[in-house]
Symmetry: C2
Subunit: 438 residues, 2 copies
């Protein structure tokens, strides 16, 4: 089966920041052609019109919580630890398979319609099969982990705290069941929630087992000063050092937030090849702070961008987040800091690399998988559209995304999601949220 994105302006996200015009074509899910005219080789082809569109790799968000979407608008104006203890942990404890799936389907619908083709997704402690099933149906490229929480904390609802062994067994089971499924589109990642919610034994085992199974690690660190104080009280060290001592830092590790880091911690991340995913809306809204992205880049750390969850950022909108990353650092670092092409690269190839998929997706290059989006540039808020990098970094909105393919398969065509019935997804989400918050 051939899929052709025809006649756009192409941001390939290659080393030369190339902008070319013409077609992007995929055969059997892989990109076979970028730029210039493409002639299908068989009769089994589908052509989508990309006139007046930017054609680019889909956004790759390396930190989301699809299971939290039903708590959108239910937990505003709280700082992180209050937000977790008062709303999010009780909410996650109340989820069942059906509500978890409803939440994830809503998340994936929003993400795909907005041009995000890959996510690194931290589920909750249970119901991770339901999240995988939602990703399988929605057609998104998803690396998902069962959240690991086995430490004693009276604020954690009983249903949400696991034993160490059960947490590890469940990850092993999920990894065997889902990692590499759907032609490699679905993958597993170990997801210790954050240091305070995990015992030493669990952290050490996660390092060993993730390495043994060849899968990634996805966690949070240094998001909040209260969290830092808990870690320092327990270990007399800072988060990144603790993660390193337990063998959790490597090129397949992605750590969300990393707001409160020392230069030594940044150097350690760089030395280990670990990645950071910054989530600016979430970090501002939970009063956590601002991740020093320019310092991470200067230290040689790979940076990705994510929306976190709808319960904190309220949207799962990669464009809002990448625009924020483009804007936030200029007052301190100068107007040329993080220029448009660099931010767009961070939101695509940077995200793919952070989730261990840098060779698979994140750019439009022959041989990579066909994770391709077309962004309409004719709306008044983009007109006159003569500067493609500027459009992608500063002017385009999620609502401008016209076509989306994952693995060379069209999942959004002319702004309509083809894989899920969006009106039913919304209906189930509303009903599930009403049950959960009653």
């Amino acid at each position: 089966m051939e899929l052709v994105f025809r006649g756009g302006t192409i941001l390939a996200i290659d080393a030369q920041h190339r902008v070319v015009t013409g077609d992007v074509a995929c055969i059997d899910g892989a990109i076979v052609h970028v730029g210039g005219a493409y002639t299908p080789t068989t009769d089994a082809y589908d052509i989508v019109d990309c006139t007046d569109c930017l054609v680019m790799p889909g956004l790759a968000q390396a930190h989301v919580h699809s299971c939290q979407t039903l708590a959108r608008g239910r937990a505003d104006d709280l700082e992180l630890l209050d937000w977790l203890r008062r709303v999010i942990w009780p909410y996650e404890a109340a989820l069942d398979d059906a509500t978890a799936r409803a939440s994830a389907e809503l998340a994936y619908a929003e993400l795909l319609l907005g041009g995000t083709t890959s996510v690194l997704d931290m589920a909750t402690v249970h119901h991770t099969d339901a999240i995988f099933a939602a990703a399988q149906t929605a057609g998104i490229r998803a690396t998902i982990g069962n959240t690991l929480m086995d430490a004693a904390d009276p604020a954690i609802p009983a249903g949400l705290r696991d034993t160490t062994q059960r947490a590890l067994d469940e990850s092993a089971r999920l990894c065997a069941a889902w990692h590499g499924k759907a032609g490699g589109r679905l993958r597993y990642a170990y997801a210790p929630r954050f240091v305070p919610s995990c015992t030493d034994e669990l952290l050490a085992e996660v390092g060993r087992q993730a390495t043994a199974r060849g899968v990634g690690i996805h966690t949070h660190a240094s998001e909040n000063l209260g969290e830092l104080a808990l870690v320092e009280a327990r270990f007399g060290r800072r988060n990144i050092e603790v993660l390193d001592r337990f063998g959790l830092l490597g090129p397949h590790t992605c750590i969300a937030h990393c707001i409160h880091l020392t230069a030594e911690e940044r150097a350690l991340l760089a030395a280990r090849g670990a990645h950071v995913c910054t989530c600016p809306s979430s970090n501002l809204k939970l009063a956590s702070g601002v991740c020093d992205v320019p310092a991470l880049i200067a230290a040689g750390v790979g940076v990705a961008i994510g929306a976190d969850g709808a319960a904190c950022a309220n949207n799962l909108d990669g464009w809002l987040e990448l625009r924020l990353v483009g804007l936030l650092y200029k007052p301190k670092a100068g107007a040329r800091a993080l220029p448009a092409p660099e931010v767009v690269r961070m939101a695509t190839l940077g995200g793919a690399t952070a989730m261990g998929l840098g060779d698979v997706t994140g750019s439009l290059e022959v041989g990579k998988r066909g994770d391709v989006i077309a962004v309409d540039t004719t709306a008044p808020h983009v007109t006159p559209a003569r500067a493609p990098w500027s459009i992608a970094a500063y002017a385009a909105k999620a609502g401008d995304v016209r076509h989306v393919a994952v693995d060379g398969r069209l999942v959004v065509r002319d702004k309509a999601l083809l894989t899920l019935d969006v009106s039913k997804v919304k209906q189930r989400a509303r009903a599930a949220a009403d049950r959960l918050f009653k």
Copy 2:
């Protein structure tokens, strides 16, 4: 003529932060009914369906430059003074009546489609009649000023520098021609660009003549440290003191930006009843800094929100800006700083008040003019939509705006602009931009 917004969830933006359900009705442009069921009194009525919509006052942006829209994407990653001297002033000098009008029509189309019903708009040095004509046709409520620049500065293109007398004469002429026209929807405001671009004589005369004519004053101040240095070198004082000495501070003054203020300057603004319009995207992107909105509010200064121009913020999107205001201050001031209802009020009634229209628009109250919008809350990125303030502050997007009325007249219905042919507006804008940047 009666216009009924039927069956929404209404954010009235009154003193009690009331949320009610039902209808909002206007007769002959004025609001006559808010909440509960409304029965038209005559046969000459129009009903718009607001099922699953938030119905609220339109956004009031108290600082925009509609004449700069054609430079969208042409001046990225520059700090303010470079941005003005290298791109914006040469661009403004190259405008003619047709290109100025094309720029303003594009701006007003984007603004109205995105739910902004009122703007305080700084035009350029010439062609302000064309900007007024665009506002008249578009149907937006606009307070517009001819930009005043008479100081010697080799960086200002010859065509853009006015003599003091001509600048004042042109303002007087424009004020007579347009102030109060279109049933009061169009108004004039004196618009000295900023202190460095104006002579002492001009500044003093603006204070006198604006007062004499009973019109507002719209300027920029303390946006950039280079600007501050110019002002301090010339006067040995800070911006706000200088404006006060020339009689420019009063309840009908709106000053954009105000990033670099002392506590004394904030107190002086409060004492004079002058307003500040913060433009967070623009301030970040031009590397200017972040206006200390919580400090202004604590000092008793009225704060409004604006997108500035498409040449700096890239969009003219009131929702992006109000969301940013809601997020930016939480890391320093706490998660409860500027909670959702306060930010929504700032973006509506705050803006109206800053442009001298606090008694006319900015809230849905019987007797005010019918500047009403309906925001659809059924998109996946808003679902499940159970918290109206949260939706308005954090989740809604410009693309969710379904209906818009100004002065009780429908200008957007089911996301279509009724007053301008948008495809022609875009066509003229593209052609004009290509001419200007050739």
